[in-house]
Structures are given as C-alpha cells and as structure tokens.
Symmetry: C2
DNA sequence: ATAATTTTGTACTATTTGGTACAATAAAGG
DNA sequence: CCTTTATTGTACCAAATAGTACAAAATTAT
C-alpha cells in the first residue's frame, strides 16, 4: 500500500517493518495480556532485539496501545469482509462459533484483547482507562451499525433497538469467552451458541 | 461457632483470628486480582505484619486459595439466604441488579473472584487451572440446582434444561460484569437486566 | 521473676521487572 | 575505503517482587 519497501537512499537496509512487528506484538498481547507479557518474551515474539525495540518504540506501553489500535482495525476489517461473504447475522454467529471451535480443538482461546486488557487495567488501577472506554464505545457503535444493517435487510428479525441489541450481543460474547476460559464443560457450550442465535433470531 | 475465643493456657494472647484475616484478604484479592495484589498492600488490608503473615500462612498463594474457598462458601450462603427471603428467581435477578447499581453508584465493581482470577491464571499459564475448573463446576452445579428449584416451584417458567439455563445465566452474568468494567455506557445497562429477566421469564 | 507465646521491627536475600548506555558489527551507497 | 544507517551484544541500573532470619517487645499464666 504505502511506500514501505522503497530503498532508503543509503545505509544498511531495514530488516523489519514497524507495522509487522506491531502485529506480532499484538498477537502476543492478545494471548498473554499486558501484565502477563514480559519484555523478553515480547521481544522473542516480535523477532527483534531489545536495542532495536527501544530504538523503534518508546516503551512497552506504547507498543501495547499501537497493538490495541491495530486490533480494532483488523477486527472491523474482518467483520466487514465476512459480512460481504455471508451476511450480517451469519457473521455475528460465526465469529462466536469460531472461538468455541478453537477452544474445543486446541483448548486455548485468546478472547478479546480490548475486554481482557481493559479488565487488567481496571483491576490494577481501580478505574476504567479513558482510552479503553473510548475504544469500547467504538466497538459498540460499530456493532450497533452492523446490527442495524441486519435488521433493515431482514437478516435479524429481533427489532430491539440496534444499540441495545449490539450490547446484548457483545455482553453475551464476552461472557462466552469468560466461560470458555474458565473451563466450562464442553457439553454445555453448544447451547450458548443457540442462545446467541435466539438473540439475533 | 467453633472454640475461637477460648483462652490459650499461657503466653501472649492472639490479636487476630486466621479466618478473619482470610476474609480481609479475600476482599482484597476480589478487588485487585491475584497478580494485581502485592504483598505489602495485602498485609495492610489484612491488618497484620509480614512476620505474622508468614508464621500463619505458607505463602501468598496459600492465602489466595483459602480466599477462593471462602468466596465460594460465602456466595452459596448468601444465595441460600436470599432464596429464603425473596425466592429463587428474584435472587438471581437481584444479584445482578446489585452489581449494576454498585457500578452506577460508586463506579467500581469487584466482579467475580473466581472468573476474574481464573482468567488471570489462564492468560499467564495458557491453561485452565485444574483447581479453578473444579471450582467452576461447583458453581455451575449449585446454580443448576438453584434454577431447577425455581422451575419446579413455578418462579422460573423457562423450561430449558436447568444446567443449560444456569450456564446461560452465569455466562450472561460474567458478560455483564465485563461490560460494566469495560466502561459501557450506563444508558444501555438497564436493558441488560431486562435481558436477564427475559432469560428467566 | 520466669517461662510461654504472639506480634513487631529491621534487615536482608534472590529474582524479575522495564529500561538505558554504548561499543561492535553488518550491509548498503558514494 | 569511507560514511551512513540498522542491528546486535553486553553490561548495567533502579525499582519492585515474594520470602527469610532473627532479635526485641508485648502479654499472659504460673
């Protein structure tokens, strides 16, 4: 897209792109959380050395916020793409089904970077991070529009206010993630997907 | 209840009861999580000095597991008590309403010690703690029995299998906690309580 | 007073944490 | 070869972490 791979006029050429290592960092934060990520492991995940890290970024925290931003971008992009393929309602269902299947298969579930790290921050500092709150609002707004579209084209028959329905969906989603991560029996998990489908009707 | 306050034959009398300081520790863990609790703050919360702490307990971890056990006991006791006063269904609703009100009023919400610390452990070690899993099973079983009772006496009209309904309820509950802690707008929170009431019908 | 027991205070340890400083080296163009 | 730029390696730092050791003081019964 942008002029990433243009040769810099002179000097040793770069061996990594900033955006690429942010993505690697994002995946690591996503899996381990912010506090659960120590710098050494993060560096291994990013494939760069400490010296390069601190020449490129200000701190671990800065990389985290860049990761959070990338997470939002990628989530929205994925949802829009899926929408084009299978429609609004099916996208909302499949997103959750994907997590359930992943938990069943590999017994591991990354969950939601925003919610999980928001919770970490909340537990640590006793207040909601203002940054997290606005990110959360972005998610709610996006899903509200998403749901609205489904209601208008008839894929979602539940005529509850789109924003409220989006919040119900997101709440259920984060609850399912927590339940899965808390090790709920697989025998009862499928019913949770029915629950979601009932909600979207 | 037990012979807590009997005088020990000789020596300086105890100034704190083990169970009492465990309860204080529980409340601190509940609010800050396990990793988010450092020993010095924990000691302040428990009102004892480090020397006393390590003479009474083996480690921070031991106190945490004792706290977790107490948490379960107290939760079940509270639910049984409320059941006697306002019935099964109303108890399930009010429990959540209490959290919502707390979040609205003081802008702070402890959430669920088991789920929150289970998530911490999960994120850190990549697997579900076996201890947490069995605790989770205890909770599911308790709520399943609770729901069953409500279905039999007609307070809950939703005739979905009691265990599945209990899991739906718990999932919704943990989702609501996450949403509140993530700083969802208060304007949409009330609808989440309607959602719970609809579920229990 | 003395023995028994509990709590406190102080000092210490070993490990891990995020972060810094800086020289050495690698890879390109001029 | 020389300059420029990117990466690496090594060494270090200050702070925070959970936990230990042990003497001193407090409070009781005998």
């Amino acid at each position: 897209m942008t002029n990433k791979s243009v040769k810099n006029s002179v000097g040793r050429p770069k061996t990594f792109e900033k955006d690429d290592v942010i993505k690697l960092a994002m995946n690591h934060f996503w899996e381990h959380g912010f506090e659960g990520t120590n710098l050494d492991d993060l560096l291994v995940a990013m494939g760069i050395k400490k010296s390069s890290f601190y020449r490129t970024f200000k701190s671990k925290e800065e990389v985290f916020f860049l990761s959070l931003n990338l997470y939002k971008q990628e989530t929205f992009t994925l949802l829009e793409q899926l929408k084009g393929e299978i429609g609004v309602k099916e996208t909302l269902v499949q997103i959750i089904k994907y997590d359930i299947d992943e938990a069943k298969k590999i017994g591991k579930l990354k969950g939601c970077l925003l919610i999980d790290c928001g919770k970490e921050f909340y537990k640590k500092h006793g207040i909601i991070s203002e940054y997290m709150r606005t990110e959360m609002d972005d998610f709610v707004d996006f899903f509200a529009k998403f749901v609205k579209e489904g209601q208008l084209n008839g894929q979602i028959t539940n005529q509850l206010d789109a924003k409220l329905l989006a919040v119900r969906y997101l709440t259920l989603y984060t609850g399912i993630i927590s339940s899965l991560q808390a090790g709920i029996e697989f025998s009862v998990v499928d019913d949770l997907l029915f629950f979601v489908e009932e909600l979207l009707k």
